[in-house]
Symmetry: C2
Subunit: 297 residues, 2 copies
């Protein structure tokens, strides 16, 4: 099997993982988790979200978390998710070097998620781009593989959105399977089309494990030469209304699979499992990741 030699994992647990947890995680515990992630070898961490505290109270300490992380670790890239211009400004002022802006590939999901049309979101993205010249901006294309309202999403919609993003000078794109419906045959088809359109761009993948297919989809991505993946410690994230349902692909599960396959990640597996164990002990006792629950027998 022809595989990339290396892969890069963006650890999104502190944002995508924590944002849905109801009980507020003290800032120092959040930073302890970040410390452990850095020590495990993660070089890029989505550390918080600059969103209105009324919308997501868990992220009300975005500024403190971002500032502390950025000041402490000069050789780690810290990313923040921002829903709008206001968020991007706050992230920029906190010293964040890269922001993720989310726009859905399906109109219905974008409306439900950010209460805007896709066009309005793209215009806001353009405004962020033109105001913050030195900020790295990544577009997260949500529901790129399927929408809870609109069903299957045509790959043409995804590519059209990439055209717009690259056209306005966005630095990177991440294709998100927001609700974990992508299947490996579909991922193969979508990635082949995306690669045909944008051969030289580094395009990330953000796969949820809702239906258990995240790692299978990532294998197909590797076969297609993709090697940039977002993941969350312990498999955090996903839907808060289904306690047993899986969230993001677990970082330590991904590290284990990639390293076992001979794809180098730069992350220490044992320490990555340690991050998930810390989260299990201090933040969320029931995690859907595999390695954190694994039996040695």
């Amino acid at each position: 099997m022809l595989l990339p030699e290396k892969a890069k994992i963006i650890e999104v647990g502190p944002r995508d993982g924590f944002q849905n947890l109801e009980e507020f995680i003290p800032t120092d515990v959040k930073l302890e988790v970040v410390d452990r992630m850095v020590s495990a070898g993660f070089k890029k961490i989505q550390v918080t979200s600059f969103v209105h505290p009324k919308a997501i109270p868990q992220m009300k300490d975005a500024k403190e978390v971002a500032k502390a992380a950025v000041e402490k670790y000069k050789d780690v890239e810290f990313v923040a998710l921002v829903p709008n211009f206001h968020g991007a400004k706050a992230a920029y002022e906190a010293g964040i070097g890269e922001v993720s802006c989310v726009i859905s590939a399906s109109e219905a999901h974008n409306k439900a998620n950010i209460r805007r049309t896709v066009e309005e979101s793209l215009l806001e993205l353009e405004k962020i781009r033109s105001e913050f010249k030195t900020l790295k901006i990544k577009l997260d294309i949500a529901t790129a593989f399927g929408c809870p309202f609109d069903g299957k999403v045509p790959v043409e919609n995804v590519i059209a959105m990439m055209d717009r993003a690259y056209g306005m000078g966005i630095d990177g794109v991440c294709l998100c399977d927001t609700i974990g419906v992508a299947n490996p045959a579909q991922v193969d088809e979508v990635l082949k089309a995306v690669k045909a359109a944008y051969q030289d761009k580094e395009i990330g993948l953000h796969m949820h494990d809702t239906r258990g297919m995240a790692l299978a989809n990532i294998v197909v991505a590797l076969q297609n030469g993709f090697n940039l993946f977002e993941a969350a410690a312990g498999g955090l994230g996903g839907c808060p209304f289904a306690p047993g349902a899986a969230g993001n692909v677990a970082s330590e599960d991904l590290v284990n699979m990639l390293e076992e396959m001979g794809v180098s990640t730069g992350v220490d597996l044992e320490k990555a499992v340690g991050v998930a164990r810390l989260i299990k002990e201090k933040i969320k006792p029931e995690l859907t990741g595999h390695m954190v629950n694994v039996c040695n027998c």
Copy 2:
């Protein structure tokens, strides 16, 4: 992606799934589960194990379960696992048409699992074969992808065991990732070697999801033309000492992925999820399968 048009799933929940559960499941509940599996469209079910009741008390009603299932459903194949000649005889007498005999590809695991050397196990298999001419006999090669004691298992060992099995007239072989350590690159390598040796044989795969790689491994198997998979409702099975650890690949997760990929299974997804829900309600509240816990949001 080139995929088989169809795949066959052998539902092993009533044996591999139930055998590790401590509390005895009443015979009528076991049979209710089998009823629901049949109604979901499963055409082959590993229904019980003819093992000494002191070794696995859960299977003490093997005879009743097997007889009831065989008599009720003439168009479904019922398989029983048997650890030895005595078990094969009991299965045969109960009307079972096919038995699974387990031998590990690694010496240490075979000793730990059946207290025999691999050679002793092979001689017992030969004895079963020569005594029961009309019984379909399948060899389950345990630890085919890795052993908890011996580590990686050379594919030569697996093929040597297949040589012996086919040489004595065994009807089928199933390669088992007993402890869920196989990774997709390894599966690709092993299956290519196995296929080169036995091109025309129908070879099954029994993948555990311990480290979350079961579906990824199955995708690679599909890419190599394999299409016979064992799975257990709800993801039952695995290690009883790690409650959060995943067991077998969940049948309904597998049905979902295969059908989404356009590989026909003959199983009704909704009804397969229904089987897992029944097990969740009546037998084991916490299941590691995905579809049974999925969130519709």
